[in-house]
Amino acid sequence: MSLLNVVDLNTSYGPINVLAGVSFTVEPGETYALVGESGSGKTTVIRAIAGLAPAQDGSVTFEGQEIRGAPESVMRPLRKDMAMMFQDPVGSLSPRLTIRSLITEPYRIQGMKDRDLDAEAKRLLAMVNLPTHFADRYPYQLSGGQARRVGVARALALEPKLILADEPTAGLDVSVQGELLNLLNDLRERLGLAMVIITHNLSVVRHVADRMGIMYLGRLVEEGTTETIFNNPRHPYTRCLLSANPEPDPDARLERIALKGEPPSLLKRPSGCEFRERCPFAKDICTQTPQWEMNGDHGLRCLAPLS
């Protein structure tokens, strides 16, 4: 049984259809990356899974239990097993609580009163390589990288089975980014964590994700193992995204595929293939609506795929 099963998830805010049927699964211990441009719906997907954003239609099952639209009384005990790492590391920490209170808050919320919170705080800080005296600090006394690690400690406090991580390395310096990714990789191996990770940094995806899904306008357009997607992207949008990754080498010869124009408005979704107006490879057939097709573990929504 998959740990997380998302089927045809739909979210609308009034007339704006933010998610138009998103489906994917995450196995225990697996890392799944969602990539795509700003506004493609990545954050909404994981917020809807965690019950923090509405989802009017579709299904989210976690360990076989349906949780879409579940009331807080059902979600709260589940959050022990499903933790969230928010995008803004400092903004997601209450400025008035000490680091000790922040990282032990999950125990209090879950009513685990028998725990020695001081000892837990020490254990968690050590796990994310922060000195124990940080327990008495406040969020404003931390650097961005340290605040990230507090966010990781808090997400790991209850030893969840799944972490939903929204841009976990955004705003970090490269030297610190590696540290955080190594930490996540290490914890995943030791604790058997599964992760859904959102990032627009494709270089990061290559090093952490087992599988990845590419989102465009609230839909998956391609999905596959990280290796397959990097070596053999078949959707033109995926190809464009991969080619847009600037290389740290002034002599890199880039076969860059330029995207035309801007992402269309969600209020006026284009007919046929929604990417066709920006697609450098669009053909006549693309005025028809492409369906999602799975070929082994490689999923694709394109009528004129690249070889």
Partner: protein, 326 residues
Amino acid sequence: MTEKLLEIDHLCVDYETGRGDLKALRDITFNVNKGEIVGIVGESGCGKSTLISSILRLTAPNTRFREGEIRFKEQDLLQASERQMRDLRGSDISIVFQDPMQTHNPVLTIGQQMLDIQHRSKQSKADKLSHAAKMLGAVGIPDPDARLKQYPHEFSGGMRQRIAIAMALMSEPDLLIADEPTTALDATLEVQIIERLQELQREFHCAILFISHHLGVIAELCDRVVVMYAGAVVESGEVREIFHNPKHPYTRRLIECDPGHIKERARILPTIPGEVPDLANLPGGCIFRDRCDQAMARCATEVPPLDQLKEGHHAACWLNHAEATS
């Protein structure tokens, strides 16, 4: 013959704080030639922002210029009056800020804002508007005349950043300072902005001082690179020299850390362990030595000078000192 536009000469800038002076910039020396794109790369706390605000003199009240000069077209900006600085800003030197969502005034149309920044011009309003439309077209905004009537919220993030670039270039400045202009944008938009900057630079021949911590962007855009660490220049040189033949251990490690450099999936990514030293309480010797895997006895006691290793390539590291002097 290259003509010097901006010369930073032994610049030292402190912030006065309750804990004593925070030495934010120490002995910064580099220059930007006319029509050249120079990248400044460095991590949080390396002094990039202090450097830009010092050039434009948009500094916090506790800033103290201790030593050195900032010469723009041979005029020492540190000696310039506030009035002279105001004349320079937005006409000879322009800036594009990091966050395109907060650069524009949300309650004025883009057209009105583009009119406002032409307040020095004696042209008619109609001419100013057509100039504004032409600039929007130059940065690739379709249907510029109609777009001038719209408000910032009606544009996407990538478009807003291109509008900010259009506004910065309206007065045809000699120097454009771009402060991490692509950090808030995703990869496809980042590439659009870089390509647009390259085109505009060819068209307007302005020099660009491009600040970023994204090595990929620096490698793609810049002619020369200045690497900063903890308030000092540790290396500078031609972009190829810096990326292919880095002479300072910090530069080398920084390039190694970039996950874009590692093509195969790595279980453990390289990092630079340790932390940036406290600028209010600087250790003696080389500032990078605590994090350096090649540190020697000498590094603990003597500050390495910024040696010229070959024409245009400088590095501040004792490892190269013999090579530089021989």
